[in-house]
């Protein structure tokens, strides 16, 4: 499998899990918009990534779900509980497909119809909305409210196009194409599409929103807009964009519309010329008008707006039969200094916008840009003034002043105010010499006032749209960079095998480390170098400390919150209670409690078993509950917390409890107990029998639980990781089940004991204390040896006897006795001698030895020998 696909599957699973949890939350609180957004994003991510693979069914289905969620999010459709069911079904289906994908790397054929079917059901909720959507899309579809934007193309290029079109009388069509932001996911390439435009003459590619900083940019979110002019008929372009009509605007224009004057605005009044021109035009005295234009043209700098307008007028007049209306429009435009309203002149069916056009777009391109730049200029100056007022430490004062001056000089250089630059330089010297910021404040105030002046000297505007914002960004880069640094996630996703390998290596390191004390002993005893032995021990202490830290850190890596397992519960409870017509409330506490990943994983199935039992057998149907005087709604509480070196999980329900008599009867029927035994048994003991294999008290086997393979499996899997499970039933009031699990299985503390010259390990958590008993302290009760420890009778067992070894007579020597706690009871265990407690990496018995239940496993000791660790529970 490619790493990409593996990652997709893993991530999508995570997202789906979150989604299911989120949907349940929404079900109980449909107004939780945050949750809804969260789900939407998760689903959106899956859809987006699924597009990378050949898994059409997933994409189709998730897309439908996404649409529904989006509609819910924007409150376009009413929330409906059946939606949740359907969405859950859909995500279950996706999950199933992901499993399929994981096994075979591809999806079988023919799933798409299933996807479409489910998707169709989801979309059914949207049906009435779709009508609205269409309307909406026509509303948001690009339209032209003015044609001033044509001014962004260099004048000479437009002029060339104009003369060409006037000469051959070919069609001209302006277009604007705003692709859907998500279009990349559906395999579209708008730029390619645009390049296919027949007779593409001018093209601008501009962002629909300000450019995001690179760090924040989403490469797959299209924010481009394409606009330009094609020397082709409207129909040809419409044909090309036939799949995206709602994203395009097309308009046939006459060549005159290209006459959008651009340049620096001019304060001079041209009313006289305009009036004269209009008169000449109305008399169709083209030669006279041409002459007047010729005469006026040299009065203006070539880059001014007026000069540009005059050049265009000249071009219009160069035609053999100049268009009177076009000429008049351009002349009128000169009166106001605004672009002629060519759109109105075109009088297309779109004309409704024509009335609005002059009002909505009064400023010419050049003016608008200037305004933009002005505002950037103002913002920069204001920012400098603000930073001047911020408190500062004396050491950084001059640095700040210098940076303000650098910034200002750059700005002024950009707006070409050389005069102010000199003033700035002088002020800088003064401020730095006198440490008085007053002159600088004055200068800043002066700059704010001088906005008109600054605007006037801004040049080459038409060539630099977006330049203003750029200036701003370039001068204050610190804000954006620090912002993006914070966003870098500090989370690594690592294959578990790598961590396990690390864990194994550390285990070996611990064993190797443990060899040092033996080495020190040898150095002292065999070679007689005491100093050397001491040094080795010192080194050992250092290595020991590092190894322990290392172990601790790697354990932390493997720690996971138990909440991971709990996530599935709400769904389980919801589905089962619906199926069984019971009302159940699930209360989860302590999801943050952490434990080793392997432990958490072993927990999942047993916990689900227990929960199922509680729902199926524990909680009564509502009627029965009401009869028993309980609340109609049953409650199941799951509580996790850390208890010393272990994690405890308690599952309580307030159902009917376990029927001890029924358990006894069943146990007798199954031959697990004799009648006498059953008689003598307390209810509490009887309830523990539910963990015995092959026992289920449910009256009928349901598909949820009751096949009698439940609780013994639970106990086995908990035992396997060294945990314990206890049950406590309150007749008619509920059942409490408590699981305790070690935090980690990696390192086991054992107490070493000596037996026949060999070392044996006993799990430290079972050891209560060590005592040395004189043989006189022993006495027998019914053939069993016992002793009294602090007024308590404790049974005694001899490890040698348990392991069928010879028992040499010990005479009057005290017996080394280990008091251990097994199944809640203290037992004395006689061994040959006590040795030290140690940390070992316990390896379970494997292969042929695997059936030796008497041993929990083996551990490698520092001197290279193997120690057997006893499983006392099995031995007794």
């Amino acid at each position: 499998m490619t790493p990409l696909l593996a990652q997709f599957i893993a991530e999508s699973r995570e997202q789906l899990e979150m989604t299911s949890a989120g949907l349940l939350a929404i079900e109980s609180n449909p107004n939780d918009l945050d949750k809804l957004n969260e789900i939407f994003r998760a689903v959106h991510t899956i859809k987006g990534s699924s597009g990378l693979f050949e898994i059409r069914p997933v994409t189709v289905l998730v897309h439908a779900a996404e649409d529904l969620l989006d509609a819910l999010r924007s409150q376009e459709v009413e929330f409906d509980r059946s939606m949740i069911d359907l969405l859950l079904d859909a995500f279950d289906q996706v999950n199933q497909w992901l499993e399929e994908l994981e096994r075979h790397e591809t999806l079988p054929e023919g799933l798409e119809s299933r996807a479409r079917e489910l998707g169709g059901q989801l979309r059914a909720f949207l049906n009435h909305r779709q009508v609205e959507t269409v309307n909406e899309e026509t509303l948001t579809a690009p339209t032209f409210t003015e044609l001033d934007w044509l001014g962004q193309f260099p004048e000479h290029e437009r002029a060339a196009l104009y003369s060409q079109r006037v000469a051959d009388e070919g069609p001209l069509t302006v277009f604007r194409y705003i692709p859907d932001a998500q279009c990349f996911f559906s395999g579209e390439d708008p730029f390619y599409q645009v390049r296919q435009i027949p007779g593409l003459s001018l093209l601008a590619i501009v962002p629909t929103e300000p450019w995001p900083s690179l760090a924040e940019m989403d490469a797959y979110h299209c924010i481009l807009r394409f606009e330009g002019i094609a020397s082709a008929a409207h129909g040809e372009l419409a044909e090309l964009f036939r799949y995206v009509p709602e994203q395009t605007a097309l308009l046939n224009i006459s060549p005159e519309a290209l006459a959008v004057p651009v340049g620096r605005p001019d304060e001079t009044v041209h009313a006289e010329f305009v009036n004269e021109g209009l008169t000449l035009a109305n008399q169709e005295d083209w030669a006279g008008l041409r002459g007047a234009v010729e005469g006026l043209r040299d009065n203006y700098e070539p880059e001014t707006w007026m000069a540009s307008a005059l050049r265009w007028l000249q071009r219009l007049l160069d035609s053999a039969t100049p268009d009177l209306t076009a000429v008049c429009r351009l002349l009128e435009a000169m009166r106001t200094g605004q672009s002629p309203d060519w759109l109105a002149a075109l009088a297309q069916p779109l004309a409704q916008t024509a009335d609005a056009a002059p009002a909505s777009a009064p400023a010419s391109r050049a003016l608008a840009l200037t305004a933009e730049e002005e505002s950037a200029f103002q913002r920069i100056v204001a920012e400098q003034a603000r930073s001047l007022t911020l408190p500062t430490v004396p050491e950084s004062w001059s640095g700040r002043i210098l940076s303000i001056f650098t910034c200002l000089s750059n700005v002024l250089r950009y707006v070409q105010r050389a005069d102010l630059l000199e003033e700035l330089e002088e002020t800088r010297e003064t401020v730095l010499d006198t440490h008085d910021i007053e002159p600088l404040k004055n200068l800043l105030g002066h700059l704010v006032d001088a906005e008109d002046a600054a605007a006037d000297s801004a040049q080459e505007l038409s060539d630099s749209p977006g330049a203003a914002t750029e200036v701003f960004k370039a001068i204050t880069p610190t804000e954006t960079t620090t912002g993006s640094e914070k966003q870098i996630a500090k989370i690594l996703k690592i294959d578990q095998h790598k961590v396990d390998r690390l864990m194994d290596l550390i285990g070996e390191l611990v064993v190797a480390k443990n060899a040092l004390p033996y080495l020190a002993q040898r150095a002292e005893k065999i070679y007689g170098v005491r100093d050397m032995a001491r040094e080795i021990k010192e080194q050992y202490a250092v290595i020991n400390r590092i190894a322990q830290d290392l172990q601790g850190s790697i354990m932390q890596v493997r720690m996971m919150p138990v909440g991971q397992v709990f996530q599935r519960f709400p769904r389980l409870v919801r589905d089962l209670s619906k199926k069984l017509d019971k009302k159940i409330q699930l209360i989860i506490k302590g999801e943050d409690t952490e434990a080793d990943k392997n432990i958490i994983e072993t927990l999942a199935d047993p916990l689900i078993h227990i929960l199922r039992n509680s729902i199926d057998h524990g909680i009564e149907p509502p009627e029965e509950r009401l009869l028993a005087g309980k609340a109609e709604e049953g409650a199941i509480r799951v509580n996790a917390y850390q208890d010393n070196d272990s994690v405890a999980i308690e599952i309580n329900d307030d159902g009917r409890g376990v029927d001890a008599t029924a358990v006894k009867n069943k146990a007798v029927r199954r031959g697990l107990l004799t009648e006498e035994q059953a008689e003598a048994m307390t209810d509490h003991e009887a309830v523990q029998l539910i963990f015995a294999p092959g026992l289920s008290t449910a009256e009928q086997v349901s598909d949820i639980s009751g096949r009698g393979v439940g609780m013994d499996v639970v106990r086995n899997s908990i035992d396997r990781v060294g945990g314990a499970v206890t049950v406590n039933s309150r007749r008619g009031a509920g059942t409490d089940i408590r699981l305790t699990l070690p935090l980690s299985m990696a390192v086991t503390h054992v107490m070493a004991v000596e037996l026949d010259g060999k070392l044996l390990g006993i799990p430290m958590d079972l050891v209560v204390e060590t005592v040395r008993l004189p043989p006189a302290a022993l006495f027998s009760i019914k053939h069993r040896e016992t002793f009294v420890l602090r007024d308590q009778v404790v049974p005694l067992a001899r490890l040698r006897r348990l392991l069928s070894m010879d028992e040499p007579a010990t005479g009057e020597a005290a017996l080394a006795t280990l008091v251990v706690k097994v199944q809640g009871e203290n037992i004395g265990l006689v061994v040959d001698n006590f040795r030290e407690g140690m940390e070992v990496i316990l390896k379970p018995m494997e292969g042929v030895l695997g059936s030796l239940r008497q041993y929990a496993g083996t551990a490698l000791l520092g001197d290279g020998s193997v120690m057997l660790v006893i499983n006392i529970k099995e031995l007794l």
Binding site: Q152, P179, C183, F184, G187, E188, D189, P190, F191, Y192, V194, R195, L200, L203, A204, I205, V206, P207, W211, P212, L214, A215, M217, A219, Y220, C222, I223, L224, L402, T406, C407, N410, R413, Y414, E460, D463, S464, P465, G466, A467, E470, V471, A474, I475
Partner: protein, 89 residues
């Protein structure tokens, strides 16, 4: 791989597909003065184009494809800043 990343120059060749956008963006995010060479490029996907525009990247060699060169250069000209970066004192 139609994009070859060198120290601070990325060379785009042939048809650059949508898949190249992400690696290109990531590369550009780490570059102070990135340049791109487009000489042998015949088409770039919109997503890649968008990344180039957003980064206001410098083109060392324009595409040989006259069509692409024309639209690309004018688009980049629009996106590029006309002023020199602020000098440090």
């Amino acid at each position: 791989m139609p994009i070859e990343f060198m120290r601070n120059v990325a060379s785009l060749k042939g048809v650059c597909t949508v898949e190249e956008a992400e690696p290109l963006l990531e590369w550009l995010q780490d570059q102070q003065r990135a340049k791109v060479k487009l000489k042998e490029c015949t088409h770039i996907h919109t997503a890649v184009l968008q990344v180039l525009l957003a980064a206001k990247v410098m083109i060392t060699l324009p595409p040989e494809d006259p069509d692409l060169a024309r639209w690309l250069i004018s688009a980049l000209r629009g996106a590029r800043t006309p002023i020199a970066p602020p000098s440090s004192e």
